[in-house]
Symmetry: C2
Subunit: 250 residues, 2 copies
């Protein structure tokens, strides 16, 4: 069981107090790498530092990104937290299972991360498409609105315990070639979608977002390796090339 | 597995915001009975209500007590949270084991509770003496200072999950007569100590607090039943009576 912890990524966090409380909860559980995507009130934050109650080194080392894609680009396994993955065809795990998966992937040398959404709204379905699995913390269905620092606490606590009760070590793809970094996966998505646009694949523009999401989810679920991702890039390129060549001939 | 949840008891909570965050965390996990012992800033609290983010019914139903003894008097099984039970001879469990014990006792019809200390200082050794077990949440030893609402969250979350991984149902005393209510236990303690004072048992007054604590801890560890508690009251009474009678004869 490795102690190499996941990166915690906060998408558009709103309150400095919450970011500080997240930093404190992280360090309580031995996690220290925090990434912030477009924090609403800027960074650094005095309110965050006060709420961190001594977890200064987590705040000091926090990195700010202007897009989710860049924030997760180097990660090979991403867990996204969501209370309501509506209409998404993705694998959903609870916090304990999620912790077991994080340990298993880290043991295989994969850089891992956990993504949390903005306080008021949570992650969008688009944010979720880059995730390998969705983590849904089991809670009272009549009052499931969880403070973001509390959500981080539970995930970090389960990680700290080692995902001991997660049904054993998950073995997702560990006997295959290394997983693709998220940056490669996202490049594959973009490449594919640009070519689909060029090919006028999206007949109904209103449906484009839904179709793109479904495609991304399907590919994310696959847990693509580096080699597979390269292969798929080649597939997209080859198909588009054939189309372009045909267009030239016609 | 019963869903009858433990009472959450906060000893001298300081910040209304924290009490509200505790209420929210409780309701997230289906717990709704909150007791406050001497809240520093009074009760009710607007700050608590704001921080509860909709868990109003937990705040509205919260009861205030002016002593720990009265707050826990009707409980039959008490878990006290402490990061540092220094020099205390009591049973220490982690959050998962604690949750399993709470479920097991509740399944036996016992009223249960979990006690949390003040934010800055935690519970005193004296506060801990009435507890059946001490719950120590496993955390990063280099940064274990946990926000009180986070501590409640972890305990409530583990309770909500049912203490599933706690090594099975704990069977502490479940085949014996019903456990004594804490009020009966505390009355036994007081009775015993008054008689010990009268008997000039405490030769060194400076050592009295330590000796009292050790006695209380030993008796708390026993998990006394109602019947046993009555018996012990009788023992104390009988012994004192013999001493008093001898005193009269002399």
């Amino acid at each position: 069981m490795t102690r190499r912890g996941p990166v915690i990524v906060l998408m558009e966090p709103q309150l400095g107090e919450n970011i500080g409380a997240v930093a404190r909860a992280m360090l309580n559980c031995g996690l220290d790498e925090l990434r912030l995507v477009r924090p609403r009130d800027g960074w650094p934050s005095e309110k965050a530092r006060a709420a961190a109650s001594g977890a200064d080194r987590v705040c000091d080392a926090a990195r700010v990104f202007d897009s989710l894609d860049t924030a997760i680009g180097d990660l090979g396994f991403l867990v996204a937290t969501s209370a309501r993955p509506r209409g998404m065809v993705q694998r959903v795990v609870d916090a304990r299972q999620g912790a077991a998966l994080l340990h298993a992937r880290a043991a295989d040398g994969v850089a891992t991360g956990v993504l949390f959404g903005p306080e008021a709204t949570g992650l969008t379905n688009d944010d979720l498409t880059a995730a390998d699995v969705i983590l849904d913390i089991p809670l009272n269905p009549d009052f499931a609105s969880l403070n973001i620092a509390q959500a981080v606490m539970i995930v970090a606590y389960e990680w700290y315990l080692g995902g001991r009760a997660g049904g054993g070590r998950a073995r997702v793809g560990s006997d295959r070639s290394p997983p693709a970094a998220k940056g490669e996966i996202l490049a594959l998505f973009s490449h594919l979608e640009a070519e689909l646009d060029a090919a006028e694949f999206f007949r109904n523009p209103k449906m484009r977002p839904t179709v793109v999401r479904n495609l991304r989810n399907a590919l994310s679920r696959a847990g693509l390796s580096e080699a597979e991702t390269r292969t798929l890039r080649g597939v997209v390129k080859a198909l588009s090339h054939a189309r372009k060549a045909r267009a030239r001939r016609e």
